[in-house]
Amino acid sequence: MAAKGGAAPATYSPSPTTFKKKRPPIFTDVDWVRPDGRDFHQCRPAFLRTGAVNSASGSAYAEFGNTKVIVSIFGPRESKKAMMYSDTGRLNCNVTYTTFATPVRGQASSDNKEISSQLHKSLEGAIMLDTFPKTTVDVFALVLESGGCDLPVVISCASLALADAGIMMFDLVAAVSVSCLGKNLVIDPVSEEESYQDGSLMITCLPSRNEVTQLTITGEWSSPKIHEAMELCLDACSKLGKIMRSCLKESASTSTSQE
């Protein structure tokens, strides 16, 4: 530490010469193994259930590896009095983290608002807001455990909960993200991979309509790489869409057989 401090320029310099990137050795290797032993293009096993909360109009629980989220839908119910008249419905999204969701207690609570607005943007294109004028649908998401890819899991889970609540939608919303680690693209990254990523790309789409409702890119990307990553994501989205659909069918068939 002392030796390194002496070598570094003591003043501000626009192009530091001593800049050394510390990178875990696994990523410099061409054939490194992902922390959970998956292939680069293999998603985590998804576990989805609807009807997790009794008092909600609809709810869903999703578990992708260590990432566990629960989403409840309330409404459509009367908008708050202060709201102006609107001939389309309103969508109110709120994402919160439990204090024990992250390794350091309460670490992720700072950017709740940002994630909430991202969730809103991804869902609003899929919901037929004109089917419930003057009212508001509340989407409350709680991340029980953060294990990477939190936002895509929240989005997919929320659309499942919306379907469970009987809110009219054009299609289910499936979300998948990829991380760029060096030259490699890894799909559905875990927290560890996310913390070393050079860039990330997230797509939320309506699988059967083949429409992208939200796309975010961070880091440095060339056009062919974006192409590749988008294709990878869209392919995974359509698969996830099928899993979500079968989950809904299953819950519908069990509820009718009980009656």
């Binding site: 102006m84 890119i217 440095e220």
Partner: protein, 298 residues
């Protein structure tokens, strides 16, 4: 209850059906209401060094849209997770002078969205790939002292395309920024905070070659336009903002607006954005250079 037709309701002047059709039809025929083509920007004017108290500042006008960006550098402690890096925070404020709906908490949502988009477009990925600002260059003594850059944007007048204008203003403000030279007194014991002497005469210019420009493509009907005015933005179905650096690499992308897009349309918008960004980058660079030159003359 009668519907409320207050113009402020949707943040936009109320347009009649005729006006809406006029705007849409014009865009379809590649002739917009102000005579521009679909991919033409409004005249851009840049003025640097507008705030004396800041380390760097700029005012950018794109048509009637007007924004100010200021950069302040303060000494701080690096975070324990990245001891060899400085910190940059970007915060945007939408003044109620721009539009009445930004009074009180009204502007908060827009401010937050703009700040998040700019952070995403300018600060790159987790490891710093594609970042416009090299955080390692802000380090002074590893683990002890670093520069904290506070980038504040202020929206003065809104006539569409705020994100591009803010991106340009931040780029201009950064090239106007002088970071004071710092002398570290002596090698202090490793457990103590070293004494630093901040020079008030010598400044080091900030390197801004890597700072990307942001191009927002607004989709109206089947076509997309750059630098949309508020009137045109009220007719949009969705908008994609791409930030592109000098090498033509994409450094960030966000999408606004609810309507979904076909993946091939998204890819097409990215390539159009990349093409337009080259022009904008050159235009902006020459404007910044001209602004710096006039400032030195004064």
């Amino acid at each position: 209850m009668l519907p409320n037709f207050e113009p402020q309701d949707h943040g936009m002047v109320g347009l009649s059906m005729g006006e809406k059709h006029f705007i849409q039809g014009g865009i379809a025929q590649d002739l917009r209401t102000d005579g521009r083509k679909r991919l033409t920007y409004r005249p851009i004017s840049v003025e640097t060094g507008v705030i004396a108290q800041a380390n760097g500042s700029a005012r950018v006008k794109m048509g009637k849209t007007e924004v100010i960006a200021s950069v302040k550098a303060e000494l701080g402690r690096p975070s324990s997770s990245a001891p060899d890096k400085g910190k940059v925070s970007i915060y945007i404020d939408c003044s109620p002078t721009a539009a009445p709906q930004y009074e009180g908490r009204g502007g908060e949502e827009l401010s937050m969205e703009l700040s998040a988009a700019l952070r995403q477009c300018l600060l790159g990925g987790k490891t710093g790939a594609g970042a416009g600002i090299n955080l390692s260059s802000l380090s002074i003594v590893e683990g002890k002292v670093c520069w904290d850059l506070y980038i504040d944007g202020l929206v003065i007048n809104i006539d569409g395309n705020i994100l591009d204008a803010l991106g340009a203003a931040i780029k201009a403000a950064l090239s106007n920024t002088g970071i004071p030279k710092v002398n570290v007194a002596s090698t202090a014991p490793s457990d103590e905070q070293p004494e630093v002497d901040v020079s008030d005469e010598e400044f080091l210019q900030f390197d801004t070659t890597a700072v990307p420009v942001i191009v927002t493509l607004t989709k109206v009907g089947r076509h997309y336009i750059v630098d949309a005015t508020s009137e045109e933005e009220s007719e949009m179905s969705s908008a994609v903002s791409v930030s592109v650096n000098r090498q033509g690499l994409i450094c960030g992308l966000t999408k606004r607006g609810g309507a979904g897009l076909d993946p091939s349309v998204v890819l097409d918008m990215i390539s159009v954005g990349k093409h337009v960004s080259e022009e904008l980058m050159n235009k902006l660079d020459s404007e910044i250079a001209a602004a710096e030159a006039t400032m030195e003359e004064e």
